[in-house]
Amino acid sequence: MDSSLDLVRHVARLARLELTPEEETTFGRQLGQIVEYVEQVQAVDTSGLEPTSHCMPLVNVVRADEPSPGLARQELLANAPRAEAGMFRVPKIL
């Protein structure tokens, strides 16, 4: 259980989430269950199968290098909590 707690804390930190100790326990347990559930696929015999990264039999889906209109800046910035000089304003980084 400890390792899953560590994992929850690590992932939470990477995702910039602040969790209470209760949440850490709850999510730790739930994550553990999810991992266990997914682990069932390990039982499938995959010997002799090529590893694959995608489940669809599609390759080389590309588009032509032709411009299409984007968003008006006003529209783009409409949901920004703060904007200034046509740009998104974000809190200091360091």
Binding site: H10, S53, E66, R73, F88, I93
Partner: protein, 485 residues
């Protein structure tokens, strides 16, 4: 042992090249420099939820072309991956890049330093998207800024990341590698080569080790190298700094450093101290790429002549390797050379005129060849006139000055300016006799053994003929005339 060991530097370069596509890598927004902030942005490159990326086919073509030019193996199959991290210039919270299956690997680039050619390995080439641009407010840089502003025009601009092997041993070699790579990308037409604008960027991994030791020292990564000059200076500084640290018994810290042109030093970059954990995984929204030999052959067939091949060809035409190098390193001069040489029997003379007089005229006027009405065929005809002695070199210089700005037929200019060579012995003798009559003192000096005055007298004749007489002919006639006195 207390002897100071000599150190060897080990350098690898990581280059990011923005591709000259019309649109971004995963959406149809314009990929260009200098637009008003946030005006080339759409829901895809702004990272709005629910949007899907679609790969720009031109990016793949440019990547394959670059890989081929660098003698790489092109992956028969590759994919994109998500590199997860949080930074305000990355709206999705991940960068779409290629992790364990880059499109091209195991290549090399031949680099010339002084007269030697060395081969620098290319570890890999992969495709990825650029991030947005941050403007820090309240300080010159990130450190100390009160807040930052985000412009997403650059977010999603296609990049090639080209990673060299740590084969480079000096700052000169690093500079030469970067210059040759820049020229290669320019020649392929995949990048504009503008390091100062950031469309071609370079990071240097630098470490030092006692000479002869196989094991690598701890490296630092130096960023902010936005010119060839900065690259060389920053590496020199970093090598010296690391040697000093080690000689004093210290240890080099693995860190990212920035070059400060103002202070002429590298300094440790402040960052949030966190081990990076990018949690790469395959990008589910983009299909894998399968690149067959037909596709590769088609691209190879459309590739232009590359700088190395061009240099060899020019040397085969009779140019020195120095001349070939100067012309090829400035692509537009090489193009002018090719066009002019095709129409002339004197390729070497054309090269000389381009490297010396044409370059001087361009530098004086701060001009670019492409901006002038000057046609390479005109240069070919001018050189023919000189080589067949129809005009003198001095006259040709006057014609050239008019030619680069007027773009006229040189023969017509010669007639217009009255610069046809004066080759008639009798006419020249007459001028010489007049000059000698007018310069009795110098003639007496000559008779007294001061042969140096011949130069002065030749100059007088040249002036009288407005540079239209061939100096050798004048010299010969002058000596005859003096002997008769």
């Amino acid at each position: 042992m207390s002897t100071t060991p000599t150190y060897e530097a080990v350098i690898g370069l990581e280059v990011h090249a923005e591709l000259l596509t019309a649109t971004k890598i995963f959406c149809g927004c314009a990929a260009r420099f200098g637009s008003e902030p946030n005006t080339d942005v759409c829901p895809v490159c702004a990272g709005f939820p629910g949007t899907l990326p679609v790969l720009n086919g031109k990016v793949v073509e440019f990547a394959i072309m670059t890989g081929l030019a660098l003698h790489c193996d092109i992956a028969p199959r590759c994919k994109f991956d998500r590199k997860n991290y949080f930074y305000p210039d990355l709206p999705k919270g991940y960068q779409i890049s290629q992790y364990d299956q880059p499109i091209a690997t195991k290549g090399f680039l031949e680099v010339r330093v002084a007269d030697a050619t060395t081969r620098v390995g290319v570890h890999r080439v992969h495709m990825e998207e650029d991030a947005g641009k941050l403007v820090h407010v309240g300080a010159a840089g990130l450190a100390g800024a009160e807040y930052s502003l985000v412009d997403l025009n650059r977010a999603g601009v296609p990049l090639l990341e080209i990673v060299s092997e740590p084969d480079i041993r000096s700052s000169e070699e690093a500079r030469a590698y970067m210059a040759e790579l820049r020229l290669l990308l320019l020649t392929l037409g995949v990048n504009d080569g503008r390091m100062e604008e950031g469309s071609l960027r370079c990071d240097a991994n630098v470490s030092v080790r006692p000479a002869g030791r196989a094991e690598l020292g701890t490296r630092t990564e130096v960023k902010n190298l936005n010119s060839l000059r900065f690259l060389q200076k920053a590496i020199d500084f970093e090598i010296e700094r690391q040697i000093r640290v080690l000689s004093e018994g210290g240890a080099v810290l693995q860190e990212t450093r920035l070059w400060s042109e103002e202070r002429q030093v590298t300094y440790a970059m402040r960052s949030k101290e966190e081990a990076s954990d990018y949690r790469y995984f395959p990008e589910p929204d983009l299909s894998p790429l399968v690149i067959d030999s037909g596709w590769i052959a088609d691209i190879r067939a459309r590739m232009p002549e590359l700088p190395a091949a061009r240099r060899t060809r020019l040397v085969d035409l009779g140019l020195s390797s120095y001349e070939a190098g100067v012309l090829v390193d400035q692509g537009e001069l090489a193009a002018a050379f090719d066009a002019a040489a095709k129409a002339s029997a004197y390729p070497r003379a054309i090269a000389t005129w381009l490297i010396k007089d044409v370059t001087r005229l361009l530098n004086e006027g701060k001009l670019r060849l492409a901006e002038l009405p000057f046609q390479p065929e005109h240069l070919a005809r001018l050189v023919d006139l000189v080589e067949t002695r129809a005009i003198t070199v001095a006259a040709a210089r006057q014609v050239l000055a008019a030619l680069v700005t007027e773009g006229k037929d040189p023969a017509a200019l010669v007639a217009e300016m009255g610069l046809a060579a004066m080759a008639d012995d009798a006419a020249l003798r007459e001028i010489i006799e007049r000059i000698l009559d007018a310069h009795q003192a110098q003639v007496a000096e000559f008779k007294a053994g001061k042969t140096k005055v011949v130069g002065f007298l030749t100059g007088q004749v040249m002036r009288q003929t407005q540079g239209r007489a061939q100096p050798q002919q004048v010299n010969a006639l002058l000596e005859e005339a003096l002997a008769r006195r």
